[in-house]
Point group: C2
Chain length 342, copies 2
DNA sequence: TTGCATACTCGAAACGTTTCGTATAGTGCA
DNA sequence: TGCACTATACGAAACGTTTCGAGTATGCAA
């Protein structure tokens, strides 16, 4: 319980068990043939003195640590928190630890995080990128020297495996649902430039319009940046102008919250006055007012797939295949969308 | 960008700068007097080959790593996600990394996490405990050998500093608010046994009743365990019985969600039919139906205080003072509470 | 009895740092 | 000029592992 107590080393284990250090190591790791009774003695010694291997020494000798880095935009976004939880469980199960970091879309911070990951000699990385362009990819690639999987988005020029939602379909599903209800003026809160997740969802939005011969009005494409506050603000601005939309499609969960807030603030009723559809479900959807119609993504499954791929790549020491694995979104119709009044 | 590329070592830096390894180390860490031009040469070399120190080697030599462990019940609970974010920022600023782990109240898992923390020779620990009793404290204490701060709760028999909410006051505030509105039959979703956070909030609940000479009915103390699903279920059960309460006090944010769900499921209107008050605010409170009355805790400030204390303790190498620092809760009245109809 | 494979076990080196005692060059003073 | 001192640079040891070549019994076949 005291501070700074020196922990037992494998040397202590070896001495207590009456064997050589190398034998103790072999017994503990089952990395070489060791007789049954030596194993027993070593294990007894380990328990008796509470030996825990020194991760640093191990990583020094072996060239990599049993640490996996998870870099995401913001841990307080429930979507990413779920990812963190899944990754953590999988890591623990596989005998790894994970270090989770939020970039907050700050590139300096991202650099700093990557540097610490390198300092810890992490065995692998899962990255949910905040930009998809080649320039950023090049910067990223320079700093990464370990197996990596990209989650939720991809980055041009990076050879890593990708696990993500079929975002075009997600955008199309949401938009077609609204069109199907009779909406013709559908606003959308856009993502951030240079991030393909938003661009793909927009592609779906455009495709749905095209398929139904509905022209897209430029003024209805409002700024969102995947940010609740920004979506909130641009929604307010949009609604204060003449000829407002009959529906708003929020490209992400946080933006949906911003939109719903704004709509309610100006006194409009959802869905009576205006319909709202988001991407990504909420755990607390049924106590929202109103429960929102969303296009849901199988977050946990995607995260599980990402960590599985990463662990496999680490273990096989194989080069990444560069595969892009797409997961299918699913439309969940609730009370925030209905036929337009006008 | 390739896999398994050998990273540059301080030896490479030294060679390139034309100095001894020890000099390079001193220059990089400013740990001994080094002439200006040597520093310049070393720094140039560091940049040129992109040298990043080997954390493992460092921790081996120095006896501890620049890693801080954060152990909490569940990262997908927004309350804890906020803690994680604050701790992460503070760590990064101080040149540390942090490793976040969710115990899910699983003691085996907790043990496993603690063991990994030990393996990594973390410099310090912030723990949000899932039990407060002495037995658990003893188990915990045995496994902890580094500076530690307890957040949100405390554990009997552990000498560490504690940062937490004034939970008795929180419980009292919520209850008195309801009593002040005229409620006399106030149900409460209890916490878990052996966890003092819940017990303290209950103490506040009892104190408020006593202060107003209102008897507490045993049947209104329903099981909650800080769990959304359990609170949901016991609320359903409670509401199916005769003479239901006119208000429900949920001892935590997750339980409030469970209660609200249940109440809505049986077709009751909040607050017309029944009032609901929770502890801990929601970011999306104003799009909930109805916006809930809550007793809010200054989560971020508390987390900041905890990590500040921990870093100070690590740096000073002082023994923990064992101080308990209390933060004051604040009642936020919204639409989920009103005068009772009966 | 000898030789040889088998099954373990051992000792030493190496991983990349930091630290500490020692060496060297430069400086001021007598 | 010589001496003591300061400022800086160096070399080697140590931290706790894993790995690998070498060593030692044991059992079995010849």
């Amino acid at each position: 319980m005291g501070e700074g107590v020196e922990l037992a080393t494998i040397k202590d284990v070896a001495r207590l068990a009456g064997v050589a250090i190398s034998t103790a190591s072999a017994a503990i790791n089952r990395s070489a043939p060791v007789s049954e009774d030596v194993i027993a003695k070593v294990e007894a010694a380990v328990r008796e003195i509470g030996y825990v291997p020194h991760g640093g020494a191990r990583s020094l000798r072996m060239g990599q640590s049993r640490l996996i880095g998870l870099i995401l935009p913001d841990i307080t976004n429930p979507h990413f928190a779920k990812v963190a939880k899944v990754v953590e469980s999988a890591c623990l199960e596989a005998g790894y630890m994970d270090a989770v970091y939020s970039t907050s879309e700050d590139y300096d911070r991202e650099r700093q995080i990557l540097e610490m990951m390198r300092m810890q000699r992490v065995a692998g990385l899962i990255i949910i990128p905040t930009r998809s362009d080649a320039e950023h990819g090049a910067r990223l690639g320079e700093q990464i020297h370990v197996p990596t999987v990209l989650l939720d988005s991809f980055v041009t020029g990076l050879p890593y495996d990708v696990v993500k939602l079929d975002n075009v379909t997600a955008g199309r599903l949401a938009t077609e649902h609204l069109i199907g209800l009779g909406h013709r003026r559908i606003a959308v809160t856009t993502g951030r430039p240079n991030i393909v997740t938003g661009e793909d969802r927009m592609r779906g939005y455009f495709a749905a319009h095209a398929a139904h011969d509905i022209p897209v009005e430029q003024r209805l494409l409002i700024e969102g940046r995947f940010d609740q506050a920004i979506a909130h603000e641009s929604t307010l601005r949009l609604l204060s102008q003449p000829d407002p939309p009959t529906a708003i499609f929020a490209l992400s969960n946080m933006m949906a919250l911003g939109v719903l807030n704004a709509v309610q603030e100006v006194g409009l009723k959802v869905p009576a006055d205006i319909s709202v559809v988001g991407i990504d479900d909420f755990d607390f959807a049924n106590i929202m007012s109103p429960p929102p119609t969303v296009v849901a993504a199988p977050v946990e499954q995607m995260a599980q797939r990402a960590i599985d791929k990463l662990l496999a790549e680490i273990r096989s020491k194989a080069a990444p295949s560069g595969d892009v694995e797409l997961f299918e979104p699913r439309l969940i119709v609730r009370a925030s969308s209905s036929r337009p009044v006008r």
